[in-house]
Point group: C2
Chain length 361, copies 2
């Protein structure tokens, strides 16, 4: 790939343009918003010059509702040999493009699984996609040259290609992303009108469950509006399980011992299924989640305290796989949890103790 | 408080005993399990010697279902001037104690909001409660001396006393802990039978939402069995919202534009309520969540890389408020997000850039 056109210079489009430009592709930029376009160009994402001869690949990076229209318009202009979009939903845009008489042979729907809390070209970065899955929704109509150009795009962005058909993709993201987003909001919504004394008792569990409820509502409405069916299907299944769970809890209130036993069995089965499902969530590097050992170290809140502990850990030659900092709720102190391969934990704990840290195992 | 008896030497009981012992209280230990008792004593939590004269305070740290029986038995033996329990549910044990003819004047239900993924005396630590809320479920029957002894217990454990009546407590923990636990399991349960290609697309959002679904099922069945009513009430409210959400999503599938607008409005309202509720979750030090600025730094996966970045950050004199490490799914690299007070972010970014780090803002 030597030339490309990126249509839409938001976070994703600009990040792709930055990655391609940094790897020697000549990138043209287009956006209906002049400010956004100028910002992306100023960041070195590409040139504002209009496309003169057809480029190798046009990347359409616009909101889900505008994808089909944008691809069809670009195809009519004949600005590229092939067209891909990078929206988070795949079935609708393809069907809409067909309905608009677009050319399905030169179009391929794709979805890089990457994002940030911030949006717009200023949040863009060429390494946004490094190591992330990038779904390619192949269809029988797609020609091999376009598929190869798309694989090159994914490779230039250092992402990992995952081939799926469009409807499987939409069901998958409904399951692992869109439905969890709404369920996080449903849990958080209960706190809106809760008493202050209850909210004070929040711990790390609810903090994790509700983190993504703080996401940008406008972006999520766009995404959900483009994938309502599969998300509703997942949530209906959750609703059936939830109804069963409420029934089990009510049974636990019963005077009758057999009923209580039934209720306990229902709850136990849900907890078991939850643990089994959680077990499948990929951890670091996309592998099955490794059971890391945690070495926990209480620290004070002074500047440099974290630096000191990581320096001491580094000197032990141990690779820290993950870190969690747990803050006490009313004191200027915290607990640093260093997650390491189980075999490395004793050495790390010993090295830190030697440096005067107290270890909580 | 000069003498205490801790009944039940699991994680919570042993941690309390360790805290009291380290602050000069003479602590007697009791447990029906000899191994657990001996382990706690060996850790320095207290003595296995039976109580000769009544101690100042007996702390009952047994599973929820055994609390009333254990308190009543201790009262019959007259081993202490006052009795508290530290179970995670408060209404039931008090009522059951009354039904058993226990003395409600010398008993106070309490609940330290602290725990760990691990259980048993070996996981205990005297600073488990530092800065954590410790609920005291006062009743009109409780005498002032016992209340003061309990406040002393909380102070010796360096926790923060929060006074609530028992039923408010049970509703509060149903809302902020028990119901979120089950909803995390409900989301995770959907992954048990999901296709591998879908599971591969899991990102940080679902990872956070399902983290606590990996918790110990046996412990949770005990807790939920002791608080089924309030948890069912919260989940019924969630179920009603969920039903409404599914209805909104189905409306988004409609051909009729007015119906789609209704659906979008429903989803928007849920996302708004979720964001408002999330906003109330206390952050560090129990304060309202501060909007930290994130300075993001891509790092390689070599040992010492984290040490180096924290050392460089420490030299900048900046206090790191929180850290998140995001791993690429298929590469030996990651992104370290350093969260700092917004005013400190530019200085930190500049200092790190000077040390050769690339910063993603």
């Amino acid at each position: 790939m030597r030339t490309a056109l990126v249509i839409g210079t938001g976070l994703i489009g600009t990040s792709i343009a930055l990655a391609l430009s940094s790897r020697g592709v000549r990138v043209h930029l287009e956006d209906s918003d002049d400010d956004s376009l100028r910002t992306a160009a100023a960041l070195g994402a590409g040139t504002e010059e209009p496309v003169a001869a057809p480029v190798d690949l046009a990347v359409v990076a616009v909101p889900p509702a505008s994808i089909a229209e944008s691809v069809a318009a670009a195809q009519r202009r004949g600005v590229a040999r092939g067209y891909v979009d990078v929206g988070s939903v795949k079935g609708g845009p393809g069907r809409e493009l067909a309905a608009r008489g677009g050319d399905l042979g030169s179009y391929l729907g794709t979805h890089p699984m990457a994002g940030r809390e911030r949006s717009g070209p200023l949040a863009a970065t060429p390494d946004l996609f490094e190591g992330r899955p990038w779904v390619i929704a192949t269809t029988p109509a797609v020609d091999t040259e376009l598929l190869n150009l798309t694989l090159e795009l994914v490779a230039l962005c250092r992402a990992v290609p995952v081939v799926m058909d469009a409807d499987s993709h939409d069901r998958a993201v409904a399951l692992v992303s869109h439905a969890p987003q709404l369920l996080s909001s449903l849990v958080a919504a209960r706190l809106e009108t809760a008493e202050e004394s209850a909210v004070r008792l929040c711990g790390q569990g609810i903090r994790d469950v509700t983190r993504i409820a703080a996401s940008d509502p406008a972006m999520w409405i766009d995404i959900l509006a483009a994938n309502p069916g599969p998300v509703a299907d997942v949530l209906s299944e959750v609703a059936a399980d939830l109804e069963e769970t409420v029934r089990s809890l009510r049974a636990l209130q019963a005077a009758d011992e057999a009923k209580r036993a039934d209720g306990a069995a229902g709850i136990e089965e849900l907890l078991r299924r939850g643990a089994a499902g959680r077990q499948r969530v990929p951890g670091k590097h996309g592998a099955a989640p490794t059971a890391y050992e945690t070495v926990a170290v209480p620290i004070s809140d002074r500047p440099g305290e974290l630096a000191r502990i990581f320096a001491d850990a580094g000197r032990a030659g141990v690779n820290i796989e993950d870190v969690r900092i747990e803050h006490a709720t009313a004191q200027q102190s915290g607990l640093v949890q260093l997650m390491v391969e189980p075999s490395a934990a004793p050495a790390l704990a010993a090295a830190l103790r030697e440096q005067g840290w107290s270890i909580r195992r």
